[in-house]
């Protein structure tokens, strides 16, 4: 391990960068409330791993979606475990992201000079909910189908643009094969790419600026 590290460091000089990232100073009075961002990041990685594993067997077509999930649950080794983790981590990620946001809000950490972190974070919150919304349809059972009918109808209730938004979401007037496939593409291709990019920016800004210290009495 040390040899491998030395070999790489000889060529790339990664030592200063590693020290900068890993040994950076954090305020002495931060507490457990400051770990929810990292926890959310961990769940994102869990979702990327388990999601990739599920994509090996999932088939996003109305004919096969439900049956392929039955296959995952009943025939694939550890399939029900992997799907269970993906299911629960999805809910957990929404919870953690919201707690993280509340912590940032109530400690005033969104203020100068960290407004950009906040704004990127808000987009990440929306992406997280987008993951939840698109992923919910994929089991293609009654609950998934009707939840998405209702969800897209809500989007359709927007004044003026509503009908157009609804059609874009569903890929037409009705919910069907086109809807399932575009939700799948969003869920496994576009949203992950966007989230990976923005999380990188979000974390890079935290490393660059350091963690904001908790509000102190003397200020």
């Amino acid at each position: 391990m040390a040899e491998l590290y030395g070999w790489v460091n000889d060529r790339l000089g990664i030592m200063p960068g590693l020290v900068y990232v890993v040994r950076r100073k954090i305020p002495a009075d931060v507490n457990w409330l400051y770990t929810f961002g990292s926890a959310a990041l961990f769940l994102f990685l869990v979702q990327a791993l388990t999601g990739g594993l599920l994509a090996i067997y999932y088939s996003p077509s109305p004919d096969h979606a439900y049956a392929s999930i039955q296959y995952i649950m009943n025939d694939v080794t550890y399939g029900s475990l992997v799907r269970g983790i993906h299911h629960w981590s999805a809910s957990g990620m929404v919870v953690l992201v919201v707690i993280h946001m509340l912590r940032v809000f109530f400690t005033g950490a969104y203020k100068y000079p960290r407004e950009m972190s906040w704004m990127v974070g808000v987009v990440l919150l929306i992406l997280t909910l987008g993951f939840g919304f698109t992923g919910y349809l994929l089991p293609w059972d009654e609950k998934a189908y009707w939840a998405t009918v209702v969800g897209t109808n809500i989007a359709g209730s927007v004044p003026v643009l509503g009908d157009w938004i609804l059609r874009v979401l569903r890929g037409g007037a009705d919910l069907g094969a086109l809807t399932l496939n575009r939700f799948y593409a969003m869920h496994v291709m576009l949203l992950p790419m966007a989230a990976t990019l923005l999380i990188s920016v979000h974390v890079a800004m935290v490393i660059r600026q350091g963690i904001s210290y908790p509000p102190r009495r003397d200020e």
Binding site: H64, S68, Y71, V76, Y78
Partner: protein, 168 residues
């Protein structure tokens, strides 16, 4: 004062070393716990051997001893979550009241479908002139081995065939 500081520093270092080692152990443990289901999940289908189903050929009474009959049949096979419908055929030979032999309909030479000649009492392959006896043995031509057989079973007066190729 200086002494107290030194003691504090070494205590600090000891704790730091302990924590970093504990973290390394924990990370190793988590990685192992993740690797097992991950690998199992990925290689899962490779570990399963799909068996062809036992397909009913109908009542045993329709087959006469010494008169091979070619039976075409449909069977369902699972391909992951898809039910595949396949057609296949087999040559059914009744050897006695209770004994059947079922031949794979592909010639053992190059896989051509062969036929039964009632006049010559032989299986004849049209492609390269392979000739087999009613028991599947090679009588003439290029086939390297006797006709391959399928597993068969009689249950409740019905003949069942499973497409498992058994060397003849």
């Amino acid at each position: 004062m200086a002494v107290a500081n030194e003691a504090g520093d070494s205590r600090e270092q000891g704790r730091r070393r302990f924590l970093s080692r504990a973290a390394a152990v924990l990370v190793t443990f988590i990685a192992g716990a993740l690797a097992v289901p991950t690998i199992g999940h990925i290689i899962s289908p490779a570990l399963k051997r799909a068996e062809n189903p036992l397909v009913p050929m109908g009542s045993v009474d329709q087959f006469e001893v010494g008169k091979p009959v070619r039976v075409d049949f449909l069977y369902y096979k699972r391909d992951g979550w898809v039910q595949e419908r396949n057609s296949a055929s087999a040559w059914v030979v009744r050897k006695s009241q209770t004994e059947f032999v079922v031949f794979n309909p592909a010639c053992t030479h190059l896989g051509c479908p062969y036929g039964w000649s009632a006049e010559q009492n032989q299986f004849l392959c049209p492609c390269h002139g392979g000739v087999f006896g009613i028991d599947g043995t090679v009588l003439a031509g290029p086939p390297p081995r006797p006709l391959d057989r399928f597993e068969n079973r009689i249950q409740d007066g019905k003949l069942y065939v499973r497409q498992v190729v058994q060397r003849g």
